[in-house]
């Protein structure tokens, strides 16, 4: 109980499940980053940029996990919604941008 903000308080473990969902998403970005890197065989250095962006998204998710988990635990406690508007929009935009960049690389 030394960390009241991260101590689970919900028998349904909603915050934990949500954090794990972010973790799976993080790993999916790592996999996509690895695919981009492998693509460098044919496309050259330009794909390294895509690799770096995908990896940066994964790292950003990783470093912000604790904040989102605390936000979710606090929301369950109040109880009140905890819509992560910024995280959601940034994530969607990142995937769209990576896809667009992939199209550009194909057209090169």
């Amino acid at each position: 109980m030394s960390h009241p903000h991260i101590h689970p308080n919900d028998p349904g473990l909603q915050p934990e499940r949500t954090t794990l969902a972010w973790n799976r998403t993080l790993m999916a970005f790592v996999i996509v980053a690895a695919f981009f890197l492998r693509w460098g065989n044919q496309q050259g250095v330009v794909v390294v940029g895509l690799f770096a962006v995908a990896l940066a998204v994964a790292l950003t998710i990783w470093t912000t996990q604790r904040n989102r988990y605390r936000q979710s635990v606090r929301a369950m406690r109040q109880p009140q919604g905890s819509p992560k508007v910024g995280s959601a929009i940034a994530l969607g935009a990142a995937v769209v941008l990576l896809g667009a960049a992939g199209l550009v690389v194909i057209s090169l």
């Binding site: 969902a21 979710s72 109040q78 919604g81 508007v85 995937v95």
Partner: protein, 140 residues
């Protein structure tokens, strides 16, 4: 039905929380309304993330075709499929984000939840891509 987002339980658990507490981006994106049960917001978040991973799978598929398929397909077919997969991934990612916002808004006004129009895109996209691949591989 206990988890049905149509029946928010906040009225029994707590007085309605109004948007006055929201700031900046959240207020602009979500509009007004009453805070839903926090479980519904978290469920919406996990569903959104599942769609994002689906979109990422399409991106990875498109890149993998270009990176690994080599001469298995004619170049036109390979590139066409890769472009299609990347486009579907982008549409699903954008659609998932919009859907997440629309669901958050609907929950805050006790409105019926919008239909997932990205679901048929996913189904048709996956079916067509698989069909084209099978056709190219199996037909002489």
């Amino acid at each position: 039905m206990a988890d049905s987002p149509h029946e928010p339980e906040h009225s029994e658990r707590t007085p309605p929380q109004h948007l006055a507490q929201r700031t900046g981006l959240s207020a602009r994106v979500l509009g007004g309304g009453i805070e839903p049960d926090p479980r519904f917001t978290l469920a919406n978040e996990r569903t959104f993330l599942a769609w994002i991973r689906t979109a990422l799978a399409f991106l990875a598929g498109g890149v993998a075709l270009e990176a690994f398929a080599g001469d298995v397909f004619p170049v036109v077919v390979r590139t066409g499929l890769a472009v299609a997969l990347l486009l579907i991934g982008m549409v699903i990612a954008a659609g998932a984000t919009l859907r997440w916002i629309r669901l958050e808004r609907a929950m805050r006004h006790s409105l019926p939840l919008p239909l997932p129009w990205i679901a048929p895109i996913l189904a048709v996209g996956a079916a067509v891509a698989t069909g084209v691949m099978l056709a190219v591989l199996l037909l002489p």
